[in-house]
Amino acid sequence: MRCAKAVAFIFAACLALMTATLGHADEVRPQRVVSLNMCTDELLLRLADPGQIASVSWLSQDPRNANLPDEAKLHPANHGLAEEVLSYDPDLVLAGAFTTRTTVALLKRTGMRVIEVGVPRSFAETRQNIRDIARALGQQSKGEALIREMDERLEQLAAQVAGPPLKAIVLRPNGFTVGRGSLIDEILKRAGLDNLAARLEIDNYLQIPLEAVVLQKTEILILNGDSESAPSLATQALHHPIVTALAEKLRLFDMPSRLWTCAGPSIVDAVQLLIERTRAPSSERPPS
Protein backbone atom coordinates (compact mmCIF):
# COMPACT_ATOMS: atom_id res chain seq x y z
CA MET A 1 0.00 0.00 0.00
CA ARG A 2 2.81 2.36 0.92
CA CYS A 3 4.61 1.26 -2.32
CA ALA A 4 1.68 2.16 -4.52
CA LYS A 5 1.34 5.59 -2.88
CA ALA A 6 5.03 6.25 -3.43
CA VAL A 7 4.78 5.25 -7.06
CA ALA A 8 1.68 7.42 -7.56
CA PHE A 9 3.41 10.36 -5.92
CA ILE A 10 6.47 9.98 -8.07
CA PHE A 11 4.29 9.53 -11.12
CA ALA A 12 2.29 12.65 -10.29
CA ALA A 13 5.45 14.57 -9.63
CA CYS A 14 6.85 13.51 -12.96
CA LEU A 15 3.66 14.43 -14.69
CA ALA A 16 3.63 17.80 -13.01
CA LEU A 17 7.22 18.37 -13.93
CA MET A 18 6.55 17.37 -17.49
CA THR A 19 3.51 19.63 -17.79
CA ALA A 20 5.45 22.44 -16.22
CA THR A 21 8.26 21.92 -18.70
CA LEU A 22 5.86 21.63 -21.58
CA GLY A 23 3.91 24.60 -20.41
CA HIS A 24 7.14 26.60 -20.38
CA ALA A 25 8.28 25.25 -23.71
CA ASP A 26 7.44 28.45 -25.46
CA GLU A 27 9.29 30.29 -22.76
CA VAL A 28 12.50 28.52 -23.82
CA ARG A 29 14.31 30.96 -26.03
CA PRO A 30 17.09 30.13 -28.50
CA GLN A 31 20.37 31.10 -26.95
CA ARG A 32 22.75 31.08 -29.89
CA VAL A 33 21.10 32.86 -32.76
CA VAL A 34 23.07 33.54 -35.92
CA SER A 35 21.72 36.01 -38.43
CA LEU A 36 22.95 36.02 -42.01
CA ASN A 37 21.04 38.95 -43.37
CA MET A 38 21.19 42.64 -42.61
CA CYS A 39 17.46 42.98 -42.12
CA THR A 40 17.16 39.98 -39.84
CA ASP A 41 20.20 41.35 -38.00
CA GLU A 42 18.29 44.52 -37.23
CA LEU A 43 15.26 42.74 -35.89
CA LEU A 44 17.47 40.38 -33.94
CA LEU A 45 19.27 43.33 -32.35
CA ARG A 46 16.00 45.06 -31.51
CA LEU A 47 14.05 42.09 -30.21
CA ALA A 48 16.49 39.67 -28.68
CA ASP A 49 18.30 39.78 -25.37
CA PRO A 50 21.96 40.42 -26.06
CA GLY A 51 22.79 37.02 -24.59
CA GLN A 52 20.79 35.29 -27.30
CA ILE A 53 22.86 36.68 -30.16
CA ALA A 54 25.75 34.59 -31.37
CA SER A 55 26.58 36.43 -34.57
CA VAL A 56 25.31 39.06 -36.96
CA SER A 57 26.28 39.63 -40.56
CA TRP A 58 29.22 41.93 -41.28
CA LEU A 59 26.96 44.29 -43.24
CA SER A 60 25.20 45.49 -40.10
CA GLN A 61 28.40 46.86 -38.71
CA ASP A 62 28.76 49.37 -41.54
CA PRO A 63 27.24 52.71 -40.45
CA ARG A 64 26.61 53.70 -44.05
CA ASN A 65 24.37 50.75 -44.73
CA ALA A 66 22.90 49.73 -41.43
CA ASN A 67 20.64 51.27 -38.82
CA LEU A 68 22.24 49.85 -35.66
CA PRO A 69 25.94 49.72 -36.38
CA ASP A 70 27.09 50.35 -32.84
CA GLU A 71 24.94 47.61 -31.40
CA ALA A 72 25.99 45.29 -34.17
CA LYS A 73 29.65 45.86 -33.42
CA LEU A 74 29.17 44.34 -29.99
CA HIS A 75 28.75 40.94 -31.58
CA PRO A 76 30.97 38.81 -33.78
CA ALA A 77 30.43 39.26 -37.48
CA ASN A 78 29.92 36.50 -40.04
CA HIS A 79 30.18 36.55 -43.82
CA GLY A 80 27.40 34.10 -44.47
CA LEU A 81 29.60 31.09 -45.03
CA ALA A 82 28.25 27.75 -43.88
CA GLU A 83 31.42 26.77 -42.04
CA GLU A 84 31.42 30.02 -40.13
CA VAL A 85 27.82 29.55 -39.16
CA LEU A 86 28.38 26.01 -37.94
CA SER A 87 31.30 27.14 -35.84
CA TYR A 88 28.92 29.14 -33.68
CA ASP A 89 26.86 26.02 -33.02
CA PRO A 90 23.61 27.94 -33.38
CA ASP A 91 20.19 26.79 -32.28
CA LEU A 92 18.50 29.17 -34.66
CA VAL A 93 19.60 30.72 -37.94
CA LEU A 94 17.87 33.73 -39.47
CA ALA A 95 18.33 34.23 -43.18
CA GLY A 96 16.86 36.44 -45.85
CA ALA A 97 15.09 35.25 -48.94
CA PHE A 98 18.19 36.22 -50.96
CA THR A 99 20.84 34.73 -48.74
CA THR A 100 22.98 32.32 -50.69
CA ARG A 101 20.73 29.40 -51.50
CA THR A 102 23.46 26.81 -51.22
CA THR A 103 24.41 27.97 -47.76
CA VAL A 104 20.83 27.86 -46.55
CA ALA A 105 20.24 24.45 -48.09
CA LEU A 106 23.37 23.10 -46.46
CA LEU A 107 22.36 24.40 -43.07
CA LYS A 108 18.91 22.90 -43.38
CA ARG A 109 20.42 19.55 -44.30
CA THR A 110 22.37 19.52 -41.07
CA GLY A 111 19.06 19.64 -39.29
CA MET A 112 19.47 23.19 -38.15
CA ARG A 113 16.46 25.37 -37.54
CA VAL A 114 16.51 28.03 -40.27
CA ILE A 115 13.95 30.77 -40.58
CA GLU A 116 13.86 32.64 -43.87
CA VAL A 117 12.39 36.07 -43.96
CA GLY A 118 11.30 37.70 -47.19
CA VAL A 119 11.58 41.31 -48.27
CA PRO A 120 8.42 43.04 -47.09
CA ARG A 121 6.34 44.68 -49.77
CA SER A 122 4.00 46.53 -47.47
CA PHE A 123 3.57 47.70 -43.93
CA ALA A 124 1.39 44.71 -43.24
CA GLU A 125 4.15 42.35 -44.32
CA THR A 126 6.58 44.34 -42.23
CA ARG A 127 4.47 43.75 -39.14
CA GLN A 128 4.26 40.06 -39.99
CA ASN A 129 8.03 39.82 -40.32
CA ILE A 130 8.46 41.40 -36.91
CA ARG A 131 5.96 39.00 -35.38
CA ASP A 132 7.58 35.96 -37.02
CA ILE A 133 11.00 36.78 -35.75
CA ALA A 134 9.74 37.79 -32.34
CA ARG A 135 8.05 34.42 -31.99
CA ALA A 136 11.10 32.53 -33.13
CA LEU A 137 13.15 34.39 -30.53
CA GLY A 138 10.58 33.86 -27.84
CA GLN A 139 10.17 37.60 -27.53
CA GLN A 140 6.55 38.01 -28.60
CA SER A 141 5.84 40.77 -26.12
CA LYS A 142 8.77 42.86 -27.32
CA GLY A 143 7.59 42.35 -30.85
CA GLU A 144 4.12 43.57 -30.11
CA ALA A 145 5.50 46.57 -28.29
CA LEU A 146 7.61 47.49 -31.26
CA ILE A 147 4.67 47.23 -33.61
CA ARG A 148 2.50 49.28 -31.35
CA GLU A 149 5.09 52.03 -31.16
CA MET A 150 5.42 52.11 -34.93
CA ASP A 151 1.66 52.31 -35.44
CA GLU A 152 1.33 55.15 -32.97
CA ARG A 153 3.98 57.15 -34.71
CA LEU A 154 2.38 56.50 -38.06
CA GLU A 155 -0.92 57.84 -36.83
CA GLN A 156 0.74 61.02 -35.62
CA LEU A 157 2.52 61.44 -38.90
CA ALA A 158 -0.64 60.86 -40.90
CA ALA A 159 -2.12 63.90 -39.23
CA GLN A 160 0.70 66.07 -40.57
CA VAL A 161 -0.07 65.18 -44.12
CA ALA A 162 -2.48 67.70 -45.51
CA GLY A 163 -3.45 68.76 -48.99
CA PRO A 164 -3.13 66.94 -52.26
CA PRO A 165 -0.27 64.45 -52.72
CA LEU A 166 2.94 65.85 -54.19
CA LYS A 167 4.32 64.27 -57.34
CA ALA A 168 7.50 62.40 -56.62
CA ILE A 169 10.02 60.12 -58.31
CA VAL A 170 12.67 57.99 -56.66
CA LEU A 171 15.94 57.66 -58.56
CA ARG A 172 18.32 54.85 -57.70
CA PRO A 173 21.70 53.79 -59.07
CA ASN A 174 21.68 52.67 -62.69
CA GLY A 175 18.50 54.61 -63.27
CA PHE A 176 16.29 52.29 -61.30
CA THR A 177 13.13 53.57 -59.70
CA VAL A 178 10.39 52.23 -57.47
CA GLY A 179 7.30 50.64 -58.88
CA ARG A 180 3.77 49.94 -57.82
CA GLY A 181 3.00 47.79 -54.83
CA SER A 182 6.37 47.94 -53.14
CA LEU A 183 7.21 48.91 -49.58
CA ILE A 184 8.71 52.19 -50.71
CA ASP A 185 5.63 52.92 -52.75
CA GLU A 186 3.56 52.62 -49.58
CA ILE A 187 6.03 54.74 -47.64
CA LEU A 188 5.68 57.45 -50.24
CA LYS A 189 1.90 57.24 -50.04
CA ARG A 190 1.93 57.62 -46.30
CA ALA A 191 4.17 60.64 -46.63
CA GLY A 192 1.62 62.24 -48.92
CA LEU A 193 3.58 61.63 -52.10
CA ASP A 194 2.34 60.36 -55.42
CA ASN A 195 4.86 57.99 -57.00
CA LEU A 196 4.87 59.03 -60.66
CA ALA A 197 6.89 56.05 -61.68
CA ALA A 198 4.10 53.78 -60.53
CA ARG A 199 1.87 55.36 -63.14
CA LEU A 200 4.27 55.10 -66.04
CA GLU A 201 4.33 51.81 -67.80
CA ILE A 202 7.80 51.12 -66.55
CA ASP A 203 8.92 47.71 -67.64
CA ASN A 204 9.75 44.91 -65.27
CA TYR A 205 13.26 46.14 -64.90
CA LEU A 206 12.03 49.35 -63.30
CA GLN A 207 14.53 51.50 -65.13
CA ILE A 208 13.52 55.04 -65.85
CA PRO A 209 15.54 57.06 -68.37
CA LEU A 210 16.78 60.40 -67.16
CA GLU A 211 14.87 62.09 -69.94
CA ALA A 212 11.63 60.74 -68.56
CA VAL A 213 12.55 61.82 -65.05
CA VAL A 214 13.10 65.35 -66.23
CA LEU A 215 10.08 65.63 -68.49
CA GLN A 216 7.59 64.19 -65.98
CA LYS A 217 7.09 67.53 -64.25
CA THR A 218 7.74 65.92 -60.93
CA GLU A 219 7.80 68.11 -57.83
CA ILE A 220 10.02 65.99 -55.67
CA LEU A 221 13.08 64.03 -56.74
CA ILE A 222 14.40 61.58 -54.20
CA LEU A 223 17.91 60.38 -54.80
CA ASN A 224 18.32 56.96 -53.34
CA GLY A 225 22.00 56.35 -53.78
CA ASP A 226 24.03 55.95 -50.67
CA SER A 227 26.85 58.41 -50.42
CA GLU A 228 29.48 55.86 -51.17
CA SER A 229 32.99 57.11 -50.95
CA ALA A 230 34.02 54.84 -53.80
CA PRO A 231 32.69 55.80 -57.23
CA SER A 232 30.92 53.62 -59.71
CA LEU A 233 29.10 54.32 -62.94
CA ALA A 234 25.84 53.33 -61.29
CA THR A 235 26.05 55.97 -58.60
CA GLN A 236 27.59 58.47 -60.97
CA ALA A 237 24.34 58.52 -62.91
CA LEU A 238 22.68 60.16 -59.93
CA HIS A 239 25.04 63.10 -60.17
CA HIS A 240 24.51 63.84 -63.82
CA PRO A 241 24.59 67.59 -64.49
CA ILE A 242 20.95 67.52 -65.46
CA VAL A 243 19.98 66.30 -62.02
CA THR A 244 21.92 69.14 -60.49
CA ALA A 245 20.25 71.53 -62.89
CA LEU A 246 16.88 70.21 -61.76
CA ALA A 247 17.68 71.14 -58.18
CA GLU A 248 16.63 74.65 -59.03
CA LYS A 249 13.26 73.59 -60.34
CA LEU A 250 12.09 71.15 -57.74
CA ARG A 251 12.95 69.71 -54.38
CA LEU A 252 15.86 67.35 -54.56
CA PHE A 253 17.27 65.43 -51.66
CA ASP A 254 19.09 62.28 -50.73
CA MET A 255 17.37 59.43 -49.00
CA PRO A 256 19.60 56.83 -47.39
CA SER A 257 18.62 53.29 -48.36
CA ARG A 258 18.99 51.95 -44.87
CA LEU A 259 15.82 53.68 -43.77
CA TRP A 260 13.53 51.80 -46.08
CA THR A 261 15.28 48.59 -46.96
CA CYS A 262 14.36 46.46 -43.99
CA ALA A 263 11.31 45.70 -41.94
CA GLY A 264 11.55 47.70 -38.76
CA PRO A 265 10.88 51.06 -37.17
CA SER A 266 13.19 52.77 -39.62
CA ILE A 267 10.44 52.74 -42.23
CA VAL A 268 8.56 55.10 -39.98
CA ASP A 269 11.69 57.24 -39.81
CA ALA A 270 11.59 57.23 -43.60
CA VAL A 271 8.02 58.49 -43.63
CA GLN A 272 8.94 61.16 -41.13
CA LEU A 273 11.96 62.29 -43.08
CA LEU A 274 9.94 62.49 -46.27
CA ILE A 275 7.26 64.58 -44.62
CA GLU A 276 9.85 66.93 -43.16
CA ARG A 277 11.71 67.36 -46.40
CA THR A 278 8.69 67.79 -48.62
CA ARG A 279 6.33 69.78 -46.46
CA ALA A 280 8.82 72.24 -45.07
CA PRO A 281 8.40 75.68 -46.58
CA SER A 282 10.77 76.29 -49.51
CA SER A 283 12.74 78.93 -47.70
CA GLU A 284 13.48 76.52 -44.95
CA ARG A 285 14.39 73.73 -47.27
CA PRO A 286 17.41 72.05 -45.79
CA PRO A 287 20.46 71.86 -48.01
CA SER A 288 20.47 68.56 -49.83
Partner: protein, 340 residues
Protein backbone atom coordinates in the same frame (compact mmCIF):
# COMPACT_ATOMS: atom_id res chain seq x y z
CA UNK B 1 30.83 46.99 -108.82
CA UNK B 2 33.94 45.02 -107.97
CA UNK B 3 36.51 46.58 -105.70
CA UNK B 4 39.00 46.70 -108.55
CA UNK B 5 36.59 48.50 -110.80
CA UNK B 6 35.84 51.05 -108.12
CA UNK B 7 39.52 51.67 -107.62
CA UNK B 8 40.14 52.00 -111.31
CA UNK B 9 37.33 54.49 -111.65
CA UNK B 10 38.42 56.77 -108.84
CA UNK B 11 39.93 59.89 -110.27
CA UNK B 12 42.85 61.86 -108.96
CA UNK B 13 40.71 64.02 -106.71
CA UNK B 14 37.98 61.45 -106.50
CA UNK B 15 37.98 61.44 -102.76
CA UNK B 16 36.86 65.03 -102.27
CA UNK B 17 33.19 64.46 -103.07
CA UNK B 18 33.33 61.38 -100.87
CA UNK B 19 34.74 63.40 -98.01
CA UNK B 20 32.09 66.03 -98.40
CA UNK B 21 29.33 63.44 -98.63
CA UNK B 22 30.45 61.54 -95.56
CA UNK B 23 30.87 64.64 -93.45
CA UNK B 24 27.36 65.67 -94.42
CA UNK B 25 26.09 62.20 -93.56
CA UNK B 26 27.70 62.28 -90.15
CA UNK B 27 26.14 65.67 -89.39
CA UNK B 28 22.74 64.39 -90.44
CA UNK B 29 23.17 61.35 -88.22
CA UNK B 30 24.04 63.61 -85.32
CA UNK B 31 20.88 65.62 -85.90
CA UNK B 32 18.85 62.43 -86.11
CA UNK B 33 20.39 61.35 -82.84
CA UNK B 34 19.16 64.57 -81.27
CA UNK B 35 15.64 63.91 -82.36
CA UNK B 36 15.47 60.31 -81.17
CA UNK B 37 15.30 59.64 -77.48
CA UNK B 38 13.40 57.96 -74.70
CA UNK B 39 10.65 60.50 -74.32
CA UNK B 40 8.85 62.69 -76.77
CA UNK B 41 10.55 65.99 -77.04
CA UNK B 42 9.50 68.98 -79.03
CA UNK B 43 12.90 69.60 -80.56
CA UNK B 44 12.04 72.93 -82.10
CA UNK B 45 10.66 74.33 -78.86
CA UNK B 46 13.55 72.90 -76.92
CA UNK B 47 16.09 74.34 -79.31
CA UNK B 48 14.55 77.81 -79.32
CA UNK B 49 14.34 77.76 -75.53
CA UNK B 50 17.95 76.71 -75.35
CA UNK B 51 19.08 79.40 -77.74
CA UNK B 52 17.21 82.04 -75.81
CA UNK B 53 18.80 80.87 -72.63
CA UNK B 54 15.55 79.73 -71.07
CA UNK B 55 16.16 76.65 -68.99
CA UNK B 56 12.87 74.98 -69.59
CA UNK B 57 12.68 71.23 -69.05
CA UNK B 58 12.78 70.38 -72.76
CA UNK B 59 15.76 72.69 -73.23
CA UNK B 60 17.51 70.98 -70.34
CA UNK B 61 16.90 67.58 -71.83
CA UNK B 62 18.18 68.75 -75.19
CA UNK B 63 21.30 70.44 -73.87
CA UNK B 64 22.27 68.15 -71.05
CA UNK B 65 21.23 64.77 -72.37
CA UNK B 66 20.75 64.69 -76.10
CA UNK B 67 23.47 67.03 -77.25
CA UNK B 68 26.23 65.30 -75.25
CA UNK B 69 25.04 61.93 -76.48
CA UNK B 70 25.04 62.95 -80.12
CA UNK B 71 28.28 64.91 -79.86
CA UNK B 72 30.14 62.14 -78.05
CA UNK B 73 28.83 59.62 -80.52
CA UNK B 74 30.24 61.77 -83.29
CA UNK B 75 33.68 62.37 -81.82
CA UNK B 76 34.10 58.83 -80.51
CA UNK B 77 33.10 57.37 -83.87
CA UNK B 78 35.40 59.79 -85.65
CA UNK B 79 38.28 58.81 -83.39
CA UNK B 80 37.72 55.11 -83.92
CA UNK B 81 37.46 55.46 -87.68
CA UNK B 82 40.50 57.62 -88.19
CA UNK B 83 42.62 55.58 -85.79
CA UNK B 84 41.70 52.34 -87.53
CA UNK B 85 42.72 53.82 -90.87
CA UNK B 86 46.00 55.16 -89.50
CA UNK B 87 46.94 51.88 -87.83
CA UNK B 88 46.18 49.94 -90.96
CA UNK B 89 48.32 52.35 -92.93
CA UNK B 90 51.22 52.12 -90.52
CA UNK B 91 51.13 48.39 -90.00
CA UNK B 92 50.23 47.80 -93.64
CA UNK B 93 47.63 45.33 -92.53
CA UNK B 94 43.89 45.59 -93.11
CA UNK B 95 43.14 43.81 -89.85
CA UNK B 96 44.75 46.38 -87.60
CA UNK B 97 42.28 48.35 -85.55
CA UNK B 98 42.37 49.65 -82.01
CA UNK B 99 40.09 46.92 -80.66
CA UNK B 100 41.77 43.92 -82.23
CA UNK B 101 45.34 44.90 -81.43
CA UNK B 102 44.54 45.72 -77.84
CA UNK B 103 44.72 49.52 -77.77
CA UNK B 104 41.10 49.91 -76.69
CA UNK B 105 41.51 47.21 -74.06
CA UNK B 106 44.50 49.00 -72.62
CA UNK B 107 42.62 52.28 -72.61
CA UNK B 108 39.71 50.70 -70.74
CA UNK B 109 42.09 49.37 -68.10
CA UNK B 110 43.65 52.79 -67.63
CA UNK B 111 40.27 54.47 -67.37
CA UNK B 112 38.93 51.88 -64.92
CA UNK B 113 41.93 52.23 -62.64
CA UNK B 114 41.57 55.99 -62.58
CA UNK B 115 37.81 56.04 -62.19
CA UNK B 116 37.26 53.45 -59.51
CA UNK B 117 40.18 54.56 -57.40
CA UNK B 118 38.48 57.91 -57.04
CA UNK B 119 41.29 59.73 -58.83
CA UNK B 120 38.94 60.94 -61.53
CA UNK B 121 36.66 62.47 -58.94
CA UNK B 122 39.52 64.46 -57.48
CA UNK B 123 41.06 65.51 -60.77
CA UNK B 124 38.68 65.47 -63.71
CA UNK B 125 41.27 65.34 -66.46
CA UNK B 126 42.63 62.17 -64.90
CA UNK B 127 39.95 60.06 -66.56
CA UNK B 128 40.86 60.68 -70.20
CA UNK B 129 44.53 60.80 -69.26
CA UNK B 130 44.17 57.38 -67.70
CA UNK B 131 42.64 56.07 -70.88
CA UNK B 132 45.41 57.64 -72.93
CA UNK B 133 48.12 56.21 -70.71
CA UNK B 134 46.57 52.75 -70.98
CA UNK B 135 46.39 53.08 -74.76
CA UNK B 136 50.05 54.11 -74.99
CA UNK B 137 51.16 51.20 -72.85
CA UNK B 138 49.19 48.77 -74.97
CA UNK B 139 50.64 50.16 -78.20
CA UNK B 140 54.19 50.08 -76.88
CA UNK B 141 53.63 46.51 -75.81
CA UNK B 142 52.23 45.71 -79.24
CA UNK B 143 55.28 47.05 -81.04
CA UNK B 144 57.60 45.35 -78.61
CA UNK B 145 55.94 41.98 -79.05
CA UNK B 146 54.97 42.06 -82.70
CA UNK B 147 58.01 43.93 -83.90
CA UNK B 148 58.29 45.85 -87.11
CA UNK B 149 56.87 44.48 -90.31
CA UNK B 150 55.07 41.76 -88.36
CA UNK B 151 52.78 39.48 -90.30
CA UNK B 152 49.07 39.17 -89.67
CA UNK B 153 49.40 36.15 -87.43
CA UNK B 154 51.88 37.81 -85.11
CA UNK B 155 49.80 40.94 -84.97
CA UNK B 156 46.60 39.11 -84.10
CA UNK B 157 48.32 36.95 -81.52
CA UNK B 158 49.85 40.00 -79.90
CA UNK B 159 46.44 41.63 -79.85
CA UNK B 160 44.84 38.58 -78.23
CA UNK B 161 47.53 38.55 -75.58
CA UNK B 162 47.14 42.23 -74.79
CA UNK B 163 43.35 42.08 -74.75
CA UNK B 164 43.32 39.06 -72.47
CA UNK B 165 45.73 40.61 -70.06
CA UNK B 166 44.07 44.00 -70.03
CA UNK B 167 40.63 42.43 -69.69
CA UNK B 168 41.69 40.31 -66.76
CA UNK B 169 43.27 43.24 -64.96
CA UNK B 170 40.20 45.37 -65.62
CA UNK B 171 37.90 42.74 -64.12
CA UNK B 172 40.22 42.41 -61.16
CA UNK B 173 40.23 46.15 -60.58
CA UNK B 174 36.44 46.20 -60.69
CA UNK B 175 36.17 43.33 -58.24
CA UNK B 176 38.51 45.05 -55.84
CA UNK B 177 36.50 48.24 -55.84
CA UNK B 178 34.68 48.81 -52.55
CA UNK B 179 31.59 49.99 -54.37
CA UNK B 180 29.23 47.03 -54.75
CA UNK B 181 28.07 48.06 -58.20
CA UNK B 182 31.55 48.09 -59.67
CA UNK B 183 31.86 44.37 -60.23
CA UNK B 184 28.86 44.42 -62.56
CA UNK B 185 30.07 47.32 -64.62
CA UNK B 186 32.54 45.31 -66.66
CA UNK B 187 29.93 45.03 -69.35
CA UNK B 188 30.01 48.78 -69.87
CA UNK B 189 33.77 48.84 -70.21
CA UNK B 190 33.84 45.88 -72.55
CA UNK B 191 30.90 46.78 -74.74
CA UNK B 192 30.54 50.52 -74.46
CA UNK B 193 27.58 52.86 -74.25
CA UNK B 194 26.64 56.45 -74.91
CA UNK B 195 23.73 56.54 -72.47
CA UNK B 196 23.57 59.39 -69.96
CA UNK B 197 26.82 60.95 -71.01
CA UNK B 198 27.19 64.60 -69.97
CA UNK B 199 28.46 67.87 -71.41
CA UNK B 200 31.41 68.09 -68.99
CA UNK B 201 32.59 64.74 -70.31
CA UNK B 202 32.46 66.08 -73.84
CA UNK B 203 34.51 69.17 -73.00
CA UNK B 204 36.97 67.02 -71.16
CA UNK B 205 37.83 64.77 -74.06
CA UNK B 206 37.30 67.03 -77.05
CA UNK B 207 40.58 68.97 -76.89
CA UNK B 208 42.59 65.80 -76.37
CA UNK B 209 40.86 64.07 -79.24
CA UNK B 210 41.39 67.06 -81.49
CA UNK B 211 45.13 66.94 -80.87
CA UNK B 212 45.05 63.23 -81.61
CA UNK B 213 43.20 63.80 -84.87
CA UNK B 214 45.66 66.50 -85.90
CA UNK B 215 48.58 64.16 -85.24
CA UNK B 216 46.98 61.39 -87.25
CA UNK B 217 46.04 63.57 -90.18
CA UNK B 218 49.60 64.85 -90.36
CA UNK B 219 50.81 61.32 -91.09
CA UNK B 220 48.89 61.11 -94.37
CA UNK B 221 51.82 61.66 -96.77
CA UNK B 222 54.09 59.34 -94.84
CA UNK B 223 51.47 56.59 -94.87
CA UNK B 224 51.18 57.02 -98.62
CA UNK B 225 54.96 56.71 -98.91
CA UNK B 226 54.91 53.59 -96.76
CA UNK B 227 52.90 51.87 -99.49
CA UNK B 228 56.22 51.27 -101.21
CA UNK B 229 57.90 49.80 -98.17
CA UNK B 230 60.03 51.26 -95.40
CA UNK B 231 63.19 51.88 -97.44
CA UNK B 232 61.42 53.69 -100.24
CA UNK B 233 59.38 55.69 -97.75
CA UNK B 234 62.59 56.77 -96.04
CA UNK B 235 64.09 57.68 -99.39
CA UNK B 236 61.06 59.87 -100.05
CA UNK B 237 62.06 61.92 -97.06
CA UNK B 238 59.93 60.44 -94.27
CA UNK B 239 61.25 59.86 -90.78
CA UNK B 240 59.81 56.48 -89.90
CA UNK B 241 60.48 56.75 -86.21
CA UNK B 242 58.61 60.05 -86.06
CA UNK B 243 55.81 58.50 -88.04
CA UNK B 244 55.44 55.68 -85.57
CA UNK B 245 55.42 58.09 -82.66
CA UNK B 246 52.81 60.27 -84.32
CA UNK B 247 50.53 57.33 -84.99
CA UNK B 248 50.98 55.93 -81.49
CA UNK B 249 50.46 59.34 -79.93
CA UNK B 250 47.50 60.25 -82.10
CA UNK B 251 45.85 56.86 -81.61
CA UNK B 252 46.33 57.00 -77.87
CA UNK B 253 44.93 60.52 -77.57
CA UNK B 254 41.93 59.87 -79.79
CA UNK B 255 40.96 56.35 -78.75
CA UNK B 256 42.24 56.57 -75.19
CA UNK B 257 40.03 59.50 -74.32
CA UNK B 258 37.08 58.08 -76.26
CA UNK B 259 37.19 54.80 -74.38
CA UNK B 260 37.46 56.66 -71.08
CA UNK B 261 33.97 58.08 -71.54
CA UNK B 262 32.22 55.53 -73.71
CA UNK B 263 33.84 52.22 -72.86
CA UNK B 264 35.30 49.93 -75.51
CA UNK B 265 33.44 49.90 -78.79
CA UNK B 266 34.95 47.51 -81.26
CA UNK B 267 34.97 46.95 -84.99
CA UNK B 268 34.31 50.53 -86.07
CA UNK B 269 38.00 51.00 -86.85
CA UNK B 270 37.96 47.75 -88.79
CA UNK B 271 34.79 48.00 -90.82
CA UNK B 272 34.82 51.65 -91.85
CA UNK B 273 38.29 51.88 -93.41
CA UNK B 274 37.74 48.56 -95.09
CA UNK B 275 34.48 49.69 -96.69
CA UNK B 276 35.85 53.04 -97.76
CA UNK B 277 39.26 51.97 -98.98
CA UNK B 278 38.22 51.20 -102.57
CA UNK B 279 36.64 54.63 -102.86
CA UNK B 280 39.88 56.44 -102.14
CA UNK B 281 41.85 54.34 -104.58
CA UNK B 282 43.36 52.36 -101.70
CA UNK B 283 45.49 55.32 -100.75
CA UNK B 284 46.12 55.26 -97.00
CA UNK B 285 46.55 59.02 -96.73
CA UNK B 286 43.16 59.83 -98.19
CA UNK B 287 41.52 57.14 -96.11
CA UNK B 288 42.12 58.96 -92.83
CA UNK B 289 39.56 61.76 -92.89
CA UNK B 290 36.90 59.82 -94.74
CA UNK B 291 37.23 57.01 -92.21
CA UNK B 292 36.76 59.55 -89.46
CA UNK B 293 33.45 60.77 -90.82
CA UNK B 294 32.47 57.24 -91.75
CA UNK B 295 33.15 56.11 -88.22
CA UNK B 296 31.12 58.97 -86.79
CA UNK B 297 28.20 58.04 -89.04
CA UNK B 298 28.42 54.36 -88.15
CA UNK B 299 28.57 54.90 -84.42
CA UNK B 300 25.73 57.41 -84.44
CA UNK B 301 23.72 54.99 -86.55
CA UNK B 302 24.37 52.19 -84.08
CA UNK B 303 23.35 54.43 -81.21
CA UNK B 304 20.09 55.27 -82.96
CA UNK B 305 19.40 51.57 -83.50
CA UNK B 306 20.07 50.88 -79.84
CA UNK B 307 17.47 53.40 -78.81
CA UNK B 308 14.87 52.31 -81.32
CA UNK B 309 15.09 48.62 -80.51
CA UNK B 310 12.47 47.62 -77.94
CA UNK B 311 14.99 45.71 -75.87
CA UNK B 312 15.39 46.37 -72.17
CA UNK B 313 17.79 46.92 -70.56
CA UNK B 314 19.19 48.94 -73.42
CA UNK B 315 21.68 47.09 -75.62
CA UNK B 316 25.26 48.16 -75.33
CA UNK B 317 26.71 49.82 -78.43
CA UNK B 318 29.47 47.29 -78.74
CA UNK B 319 26.86 44.60 -79.31
CA UNK B 320 25.55 46.34 -82.41
CA UNK B 321 28.99 47.10 -83.80
CA UNK B 322 30.08 43.55 -83.11
CA UNK B 323 27.02 42.16 -84.88
CA UNK B 324 28.05 44.19 -87.90
CA UNK B 325 31.79 43.80 -87.52
CA UNK B 326 32.22 40.16 -86.67
CA UNK B 327 30.78 38.88 -89.96
CA UNK B 328 33.11 41.35 -91.61
CA UNK B 329 36.01 39.85 -89.81
CA UNK B 330 34.88 36.42 -90.89
CA UNK B 331 34.93 37.49 -94.52
CA UNK B 332 38.36 39.08 -94.12
CA UNK B 333 39.75 35.94 -92.58
CA UNK B 334 38.21 33.86 -95.32
CA UNK B 335 39.75 36.06 -97.98
CA UNK B 336 43.09 36.01 -96.21
CA UNK B 337 42.98 32.25 -96.20
CA UNK B 338 42.31 31.97 -99.89
CA UNK B 339 45.17 34.33 -100.61
CA UNK B 340 47.70 31.92 -99.17
Amino acid sequence: MSADAIRAATGRSGSLPLLFGLSLLSVLMALASLVIGYARLDIVAAASDALRGTHSLPALVLLELRVPRAALGFVAGFSLGITGAAMQGLLRNPLAEPGIVGVSGGAALGAVLVFYSGLAGAFLLALPLGGIAGAILATVLLFAVAGRGAGTTTLILAGIAINSFAGALTTLALNLSPNPYAAFEIIFWLMGSLADRSLPQLWLVLPLMAIGWALLVSTAPALDGLTLGEDTAASLGFDLQKLRLKVIGGAALAVGSAVAVTGTIGFVGLVVPHLLRPYVGNRPGRLLLVSGFGGASLLLGADIVVRLLPIHPELKLGVVTALIGAPFLFSLVYRHRSER
